[in-house]
């Protein structure tokens, strides 16, 4: 008993040195780390407790992020699904021409501005790089147009010279068609192309996103292909109303097509981003929960050990 009292005294003297926090009476009676021999146990429980606290905070944050992503997803998913009709008439008319042979290829990579959303941005970048490789060759030219901070950060490392335009902060305000057509206009003004390849993640469900590439041909290529009876041979059968020349109408048509396809692509990618973030945050809060369980077990075990140690101490003396 006397030893214990002495130790307690000694501790009180040393306490400003050992821990900056004042030791409260309540705590020392509940968790008797003050009475453990030479602080070995108490430090380990202290560490575990700090760890538990930080894991608990992380879990709170990831849970909140998941909630935010879920509510954002709900809003944007409606918009995305409503915009899905927009590109279909163009594909019905001009077909789908991923393998068209052209010189100047511009890859429009769509990504998100913020991270913590799984692998959707690196998928976009990987697919874009593969398209670059696919279309490279003598007298061929590839350029990137990058939308979103994340793809920019990845592409700037090894393809800095090929990035023609980069646009970020797309989603500061809710997306609408007017904004996207301004962006489309900006891209069309600043790059020369025979074909634009829009790379994005199409939203399928919260856990599944399909990397997709939409091809938009320049009016000259459309005219060439339809006249030579290539992939767009059917286009020659259509009568064209309005406009002075066929070229003029085709230019309007392809520019409108670009804005419409881009609008849907940006929405799909934004939707995938929220879905991916939601599932990423869900799994990390589950992970944090598991870790917390393990830590609690360790903590309780060492606590009961230290308690039993002090207990035997008090009895032997």
């Amino acid at each position: 008993m006397a030893m214990a009292a002495l130790r307690r005294e000694g501790r009180r003297f040393a306490s400003p040195l050992i821990s900056p926090r004042p030791v409260t009476a309540v705590r020392s009676s509940l968790i008797s780390e003050d009475e453990t021999p030479f602080g070995v146990r108490s430090i380990s429980t202290q560490v575990v407790r700090n760890r538990m606290k930080s894991v608990k905070n992380i879990q709170k944050i990831t849970k909140a992020m998941k909630m935010v992503a879920a509510s954002k997803l709900r809003a944007i998913q409606v918009k995305t699904e409503n915009s899905r009709g927009l590109w279909q008439p163009f594909t019905a008319l001009l077909g789908d021409t991923p393998s068209v042979d052209i010189k100047k290829n511009v890859i429009v990579t769509i990504s998100s501005d913020k991270g913590l959303c799984g692998g959707i941005n690196s998928t976009s970048v990987k697919i874009s790089k593969a398209i670059y490789k696919l279309n490279s060759g003598p007298d061929k030219e590839n350029k990137y147009v990058v939308l979103g901070e994340k793809a920019k950060a990845q592409l700037i490392r090894d393809s800095k010279k090929d990035i023609e335009v980069s646009i970020t902060e797309l989603q500061k305000h809710p997306l609408n068609y007017t904004q996207v057509s301004v962006i489309a206009d900006d891209i069309l003004k600043n790059v020369e192309f025979d074909a634009l390849r829009i790379v994005f993640n199409k939203f399928q469900s919260v856990v599944s996103f399909l990397p997709t590439m939409a091809t938009i041909l320049s009016p000259e290529v459309v005219e060439r292909e339809s006249e030579s009876g290539g992939k767009l041979g059917d286009l020659d059968l259509y009568e064209i109303e309005g406009g002075d020349t066929k070229g003029e109408i085709l230019q309007n048509l392809t520019e409108f097509q670009f804005s419409c396809v881009l609008f849907n692509a940006i929405l799909e990618n934004a939707c995938s981003e929220q879905g991916a973030r939601m599932s990423a945050m869900d799994s990390s809060s589950r992970n944090a929960g598991e870790m917390l369980d393990r830590l609690t077990l360790t903590y309780n075990r060492s606590l009961s050990l230290s308690l039993s140690l002090t207990h035997t101490h008090t009895h032997t003396h």
């Binding site: 918009k79 409503n82 915009s83 899905r84 009709g85 927009l86 590109w87 279909q88 008439p89 163009f90 594909t91 019905a92 008319l93 077909g95 789908d96 021409t97 991923p98 393998s99 990987k126 697919i127 593969a130 490789k133 696919l134 609408n176 068609y177 790379v199 199409k202 399909l210 990397p211 997709t212 590439m213 939409a214 091809t215 059968l237 259509y238 009568e239 064209i240 109303e241 309005g242 406009g243 109408i249 309007n252 048509l253 409108f256 419409c260 396809v261 609008f263």
Partner: protein
């Protein structure tokens, strides 16, 4: 030794079976561009080729030998699909060359649209929309696609606001100094006079 022999034959057998597709297997995206997929697999075999828009689209029927009795209309806006594969009798669309009535069996056409009224005739029922601009494609298989940037049902337009806007833009047009201002004011006048005409005429 013996055991290894057994396992290898097993492996061979398994691979052999796997190589043959099941009859229930879905062929992956039958209408996607086969040439593209092949070229892709040659250059980047480790990454799956990306999907292309065609694989997300419902296939359209080919041109029937006789003219069908109904016209199938898709009318899409950036924020909604107003009509989706709806069968109607006739649509009248405001092309830049003048209003165009489209019946089933219409010749394949690409038309640029101007601000005006698009009406959809279905039996005795007529739905009228005011559309800002866009494109219309009429396909040989009696499908019509109308894409507009903005469209509202005609009965939701406020006539007094139209008059007010028309006056405002007419005034702007007369005071415009640069080409850009002039063009913008001209667009405003065009849209408002078309609206006015749609409401009164």
């Amino acid at each position: 030794m013996l055991r290894r022999a057994v396992t290898t034959t097993n492996g061979l057998l398994a691979r052999h079976i796997r190589a043959r597709p099941f009859s229930t297997d879905l062929s992956s995206a039958p209408d996607a561009d086969a040439g593209f997929v092949e070229a892709w697999k040659k250059v980047v075999p480790i990454i799956e080729p990306p999907k292309t828009p065609l694989s997300f689209m419902q296939t359209r029927p080919s041109t029937p030998p006789s003219i069908p009795s109904k016209l199938t209309v898709n009318f899409v806006l950036p924020y909604a699909s107003e009509l989706s594969a709806k069968e109607v009798d006739m649509v009248i669309i405001p092309a830049t060359t003048g209003n165009m009535g489209v019946l089933p069996g219409h010749v394949a056409t690409i038309a640029e649209l101007k601000p005006g009224v698009m009406s959809v005739h279905e039996g005795n029922e007529v739905t009228k929309y005011f559309i800002s601009s866009g494109f219309a494609y009429i396909h040989a298989n009696s499908y019509a696609d109308v894409i507009a940037v903005e469209a509202v049902p005609l009965d939701q337009i406020d006539a007094s606001l139209v008059q007010q806007g028309l006056a405002e833009f007419t005034q702007k047009l007369s005071s415009a100094s640069t080409d850009l201002e002039k063009a913008e004011a001209q667009i405003g006048v065009d849209v408002h006079s078309a609206l006015n005409f749609a409401l009164t005429g």
